[in-house]
């Protein structure tokens, strides 16, 4: 039957949904029973250590560390690929480890280069 | 390896302290004792040396209304005002006595130093918080009251740490 495996995973969604259903009312109730005063013009300004905020709030990007995010996208793929291999390791012949080692070697090379690049903070 | 030993030493030190005695003085139940070894406090009259951070105590039968305390305080915090008191004292012809505003007083004790007639003293009654500013102004009648002193805790040092008790 198509789609029978999906039922197992539905509980995760159920859990997720239950948390949403249980927590959203908490916010609503909180909003209902909490006092509110609107009269204050500065109250809703962004908080900035007792100063009236200046400038744009969303301009901080640690570009010095940007390569790490780029690396993450690629090596995340690699790491989960390894699971496909690792979980079936007991069933495959030993010789079949070699391609995986080759794959790892290539990735190590790339990782070494990437780490070297990201270590040079001045170019980011 | 130095890093690993350092981390383990730090963790060890932390865990060791979980077994140590607590240092906390449980304040509303226990209060620090101001008598005993090394303290300069006279529990029978309730007065301490000038410099104790507690409210003042005024002996009505000594005060002559000479205003010297008020003058001394003027250079510090202007906390003392001289007010009329209803009773008559023979040493106090003008019937004025100091009234202290603890919202201003900084507990420096210069007024105690200044009083030549041994009428004003500092005590160790420090529980002065109040809901209003007016509640902080102590009239001569209030200043006359001898503070109730129930302070009995002091630091005890043992092998497993210092505690109060």
């Amino acid at each position: 039957m198509v789609g029978e495996l999906a039922g197992n995973y539905s509980t995760v969604v159920l859990m997720f949904g239950f948390a949403v259903v249980a927590m959203a009312p908490a916010l609503v109730i909180s909003r209902m029973i909490s006092p509110r005063k609107k009269s204050n013009p500065v109250k809703f300004l962004p908080m900035e250590c007792g100063q009236v905020p200046t400038g744009e709030g969303r301009t901080h990007f640690m570009m010095q560390y940007y390569p790490y995010i780029l690396m993450f996208v690629v090596f995340d793929v690699m790491a989960i690929f390894l699971y496909a291999w690792g979980s079936s390791l007991l069933e495959i012949p030993k010789i079949a480890t070699l391609p995986m080692m080759g794959f790892l070697a290539i990735m190590f090379g790339a990782m070494a280069f990437a780490l070297y690049q990201s270590g040079r903070r001045r170019i980011w | 390896m130095g890093t690993a030993t350092g981390i383990i030493r730090a963790l060890n030190s932390g865990i060791k302290h979980i077994a140590m005695k607590r240092f906390t003085l449980r304040y509303p139940e226990e209060k620090l004792k101001f008598v005993g070894d090394g303290y300069q406090f006279d529990p029978s009259t309730g007065v301490g040396i000038a410099g104790y951070k507690g409210r003042h105590m005024l002996f009505h039968d000594h005060c002559t209304g000479c205003q010297l305390c008020s003058i001394a305080c003027e250079g510090v915090a202007e906390a003392i005002a001289m007010v009329k008191v209803p009773e008559e004292f023979k040493q106090n012809k003008k019937s004025i006595m100091p009234q202290i505003d603890y919202g201003k007083c900084v507990f420096c004790g210069l007024c105690v130093d200044a009083c030549p007639f041994y009428a004003l003293y500092m005590t160790n009654d420090y529980e002065l918080s109040s809901f209003s500013k007016e509640g902080l102004i102590y009239t001569p009648a209030q200043l006359q009251v001898k503070p109730y002193v129930a302070q009995d805790s002091e630091i005890k040092i043992s092998d497993r740490g210092a505690t109060h008790g």
Partner: protein, 174 residues
């Protein structure tokens, strides 16, 4: 017919009546519970204004440990705090900031004026740069005198504040 009945006014009357009933039914216990929660969870905002902050620090040290009363020292952001302990002198440069901090905090919020300086200006009553007390800029709930107050006095002030919150009315339910 029915359209005439379901007008905003009628709905409002209906809701208001229900709200009243509700208020009577569970408003009181809920208010009590909320007040109880507020009493035991006073988080002071992290604003140091002058030297009294030393004794404020001492009050949260192991010896006096205000966390026993649910007061957490060194809380991060003012958006999560409910108590301003004005720790001493407010200079003219600091006053607008203090006001801003107070304004930006969420309701309900309480103020403790700690130290002679915060109450009346104290030692600096004649200084050119010091405010004579903070009543002028923010409403104060409890005054803690001293220069600086002993941590015991501060704790006593916090207990007074708890007393005061207990008597305050929690917000109406509806």
């Amino acid at each position: 017919m029915l359209k005439d009945l379901v007008t905003p006014e009628n709905a409002n009357v209906f809701v208001g009546k229900l709200g009243d009933i509700l208020e009577k039914a569970i408003g009181k216990p809920l208010g009590y519970a909320i007040n109880w929660g507020r009493i035991w969870s006073l988080w002071p905002v992290h604003i140091e204004t002058a030297c009294c902050s030393v004794e404020f620090g001492a009050a949260s040290s192991p010896r006096y440990d205000v966390e026993r009363f649910g007061i957490i020292e060194a809380f991060g952001s003012l958006r999560q705090c409910d108590l301003v302990v004005v720790q001493g002198t407010i200079t003219r440069k600091m006053a607008p900031r203090l006001r801003l901090v107070y304004d930006q905090m969420p309701e309900p919020k309480y103020v403790i004026a700690m130290g002679a300086c915060a109450i009346t200006g104290g030692l600096y009553f004649d200084s050119y740069n010091v405010l004579p007390g903070i009543d002028g800029i923010i409403p104060v709930d409890v005054y803690v005198p001293g220069c600086p107050p002993r941590p015991e006095t501060l704790i006593q002030g916090c207990m007074l504040l708890q007393e005061k919150i207990k008597r305050m009315k929690a917000r109406k339910f509806v």
